[in-house]
Symmetry: C2
């Protein structure tokens, strides 16, 4: 066990991974791609297209991390990947305005069904914020559309570093004016949580088995590896309530 | 008239000055100082102390702007000024913990009576955010305590520039992903509004005649100098509703 768990005081703030953890990028983008492709007579599988778009994301951030690309926000990386996919899937008939509008589908992702309720419960006890590689405007627009009740929006854009660089996790704690060990990351990606732990944060794993569509394999993690494991945000709120706020 | 006013499309987002415009720093700090000084038998006028604390604010930011001090957040500038005032007013008997707690009174400022309602109305039509020299944690803590319903928190701390440096106004628009002319600053300080206009933003003046206490002189401005002038945030919301959203 870590020394954080030994002390077992509640964290002072929770930051949330967003793509996959809070919102269903897979379903949201596949739905919008299906509608667009149908309207324009584009014979491309929306699910394959969605997965290819997301698969371009880590390599694109890696190019920024290694200096192959200058700092670019996710909107611009999504557009680079989209332009590549339009060529790869031989898509024709989409104007520049169509592509700009479609690229912003990442601002219009729908939350998982438990997300708004769970965040509302967690907000009663903790400061809650995003900690996402999504850019600041994307996260702000997404929250306004979906009703995500963040106390504030924190983006990798503020640090010019992408997760899992430690500057992002530590930068979030510094902005919130708390010690690294007083901040907890909530995410459905074990790699993100492990990087947060290496940076000194606490970490709670939330299962999102349908992140890559129904039937995809869940990621592997070890028992006791994280401070908590929950089925969704409402379950996480109940677990934290019982652990730290129950009247004995 | 500016070309902004000529087109008269609504702005896409509103950013708000905070100290004085959203919250009553004068009354909030004088009340807490009065309680603290009474409890500790400190014979200092709370109002004079409050005004001296605020009077140290512009000179302290000027020292950062000119490079006389390295970048420091407002919490640290407030503490520098507080330590100076403790000596100047010959205050004794406050421990380090007392001073740290008192310094954070700037996180606990009460909103003007119309602020929460007015922001709620404006949030229906616009993205609303802070644009304050207060640091990110201060603004986040203040909003959570007071129920200020920001879509996101934007602070001078994110730019390492204090208002009225143009980097702050333009940086806010860039973070929000909109053109400078699509962003409007709302403030009770004509100087702040004029600097925003010079940086390409639109500007709405809200009167806060009691900012420095009842009976203080309001600041001077010219007719037509700003895009709008309102008595408070509810009045501002009503004016914007009539100007841009009324069914004709």
């Amino acid at each position: 066990m870590t020394d954080h768990a030994a002390s077992d005081a509640p964290p002072r703030a929770l930051v949330f991974d967003v793509f996959g953890t809070v919102v269903d990028w897979h379903g949201s983008i596949a739905r919008e791609a299906q509608t667009l492709f149908h309207e324009r007579g584009i014979a491309v599988d929306p699910v394959a297209f969605t997965e290819a778009w997301r698969a371009g994301y880590q390599p694109a951030m890696h190019r920024v991390r290694t200096g192959d690309l200058p700092w670019m926000k996710i909107d611009d990386l999504h557009r680079l990947i989209l332009d590549d996919l339009v060529a790869r899937f031989a898509i024709t008939g989409l104007s520049e305005a169509d592509l700009a509008q479609f690229n912003r589908v990442w601002h219009r992702l729908d939350p998982w069904p438990d997300a708004v309720e769970g965040l509302g419960l967690l907000k009663r006890r903790f400061t809650i914020a995003t900690l996402s590689n999504g850019n600041f405007a994307l996260l702000t627009n997404m929250a306004k559309r979906a009703g995500l009740p963040w106390d504030c929006v924190i983006s990798a854009e503020l640090f010019h570093h992408y997760k899992p660089d430690p500057e992002t996790y530590r930068g979030a704690a510094d902005l919130l004016g708390i010690a690294h060990g007083e901040l907890m990351l909530v995410a459905c990606h074990p790699d993100d949580l492990r990087a947060a732990q290496r940076a000194g944060l606490r970490a709670a794993y939330v299962k999102r088995p349908a992140e890559h569509g129904i039937g995809s394999a869940p990621p592997a993690y070890a028992d006791g590896e994280f401070d908590d494991v929950a089925d969704d945000f409402v379950d996480l709120a109940r677990r934290f309530e019982a652990r730290w706020f129950a009247v004995r």
